[in-house]
Amino acid sequence: MSDIIERLLKILTIIVIAVWSLFPIAFVVVSSIKPPGDIFAYPPKWLFTPTLQNYVDLWLEFGEFFHTLGNSIIVSIGATVFTTAVGFMAGYVYSRYSGRLIAASALYMIAIRLLPPIVVTLPLFPIVSWLRLSDTHIVLILLYSAFWVSLVTVILKTFIDEIPRELDEAAEIDGASQWQILMRVILPLTAQGLAAGAIFVFIFAWNEFLFALIFTTSQAKTAPLVLSEVMDAIYGTSWGVLFAGVTIQLLPVLLLVVLANRLIVAGLTAGSVKG
C-alpha cells in the first residue's frame, strides 16, 4: 500500500516539475502564433488558428530587433571564442604545473569572480567612453570573457587532468615544443571540455542584460535590451509582437540546452563540485 502511495507521489512530483519548468516557455511560444485577441482570453483559449501575423508585425514595427539580434550573435560568438581560447591555455597550465604561485593565482581567479559585476562598471564607464569604446562590441566581449574565463579555465583544467601525462612526455621526447603539445596532443582530446565551456559562455553572453544596458546605446545594443524596451513601451495589442521577438531570442539557446544538456551537466560538475 505505501509503495503505491510513494509511486503516486513520485509521479505527481514529476508532473509538477515538468509543468513548472515548461509552462512559462510554452505559454510564450504558443502565444507568439496566436491571433492577438486570443492571447489573454480568460479562461484561456486552447484551440485557435495559428498565425504568423505577430512575426510580420515585429518585422514591420520593430525592425531594429533584427539588427540587435545580429549584435547578439557577434558579441556571443566573439566572447565564446575568446574565453574558450584563453581559458584553454590557462587550464593547461593549471593542470600540468604546480607551485605556490600557481596555487595562489588559481585561488585568486576563483575569488575575483565573487565581485558583483555592477561594481566594476563604475570605474570602467568613464574609461570606456574616454577610449571611445562605449557602444561597441569589443567592450561587451571583453567584459563577458572576464566574468567567465575563471569557470572555463576550471572546466578545462578538470578535463585536461584526465589526459595521461605520459602523452605530453612522449611528445616532448619526440621533440615537440610546448605549443605543439598543446595544439596537437591536448586540444584534440579536450573537445568535450571545450564544448562544455563554450556552451556556458554562449548562453550567458546571449542573455546578458546589465552590461548591455550600461555600455550600449544604439550601435551595439543586444536583443534582450531591445526586448526590455519594447516591454516598457507596451500598449494594447503589442504583446503578440513582443512574444514573437521573445520566441526568436529564446529558441536558439533553448535548442542548445536541450540538445547539449549532458555537456552542461558535465561542465557544471567539473566547474563547481570538483573544482
Binding site: 512559462p24 489573454f40 480568460y42 590557462a90 559585476p117 566594476v120 563604475l122 568613464p126 526586448l227 516591454m231
Partner: protein, 289 residues
Amino acid sequence: MKTPDRGAFLLAAPAHLLLAITITIPAVYILWLSLNDSTFGTQLTFVGLSNYFDVFADPSFWNAAKNTFFVVNGIVYVEILLATLIAAVLVSGVPFRPVLIAIILVPYAASEVVTVLVWKSLMNPSYGMIGRALIDLGMGLNWSVSPSDALVLVGIISVWQHLPFSFLLIYAGMMAIPRSLYEAAAIDGAGTIQTFFKVTLPLLVPTILVAIIFRFVFAFRLFSEVWLLTGGGPARMTEVLAVYLYRDAYRTGDFGAAAATGWLMVVGTLLFASVYLWFMHRGMRNGNV
C-alpha cells in the same frame, strides 16, 4: 607536476591580463573612488569617508539592504529545498530520466529579460492567466501596488530561473554517494524517508553548503528582475542594493556614493561566503562530513 617555466607564464598570461584589466584594477580603483566626491566627467576631490556616511544616512539604502537580505535568503533557501527534493526524486529512479533533466534545464536557457517578461504577463492581475487564477483562489499578488507582493514575485521569478543550477549541483552530489551505503541501509531495514535523513542528507552537507554559497553570491547581485519588474518603485520601496547603486551612478551621476555602495556589497558578499566556508572547514575537521 612541473614547476612553471617561461612558457607556462606566457600561456596563463592572457587570462590573467583580461582579469586584471577588466576586474581587478577597476575593483581596487573603486576603493579610491569611494573616498572621493565624483560625478561623471569631473575631477575627483578627496572627501574621506563622507560618501559612506552619506549612504548610511540614506533611508533608501537601508530599505534596499533590508529588501536584499529578505529576498536573497528567501530565494536561496526555497531553491535549495526544492532542488534537494527534486534531486532525491530523480535519484530514486524515474522513467525517462534524461528527458526529465532536459526539461528541468529549460528555464536556464531563458534570459532574465525573457523570464521577467513572461512572468509579468502571466501574473498580471487583470489579464494574466496565473494572476487571475490566483485572484479567483483568493491568493492574488497585488505586485504593482504592494512592495512586499512585488518582492515575493521577484523571488518566484528568480527561483524559477535559477532552480536548474541548484538542482544540478545537488543532483551531482547525490549521484556521488556510494550505492553500497544504500544497500547496507536496505539490509538494516531502513525505509525511504529514514534512508534519506540518515544516509543521503548527512553526506550531502558539503554539496549543499557549496550550493548555498554559489547561490547567495549570485543572488546578492540581483538586478534585472527588480529593475525590469518594478524599476525599484513604487517610491523606491522595492529597490535592492544593485538597483540602489545603479540609480546613484547612472541616474543621479553620483559615482562616489555608488562606489561606496559597491564596496559595501563586496564586503557583504565576502562576509557571508567566509561564514559558510568557516562552517564547512569546521565540519570537515570534526570529521562529520
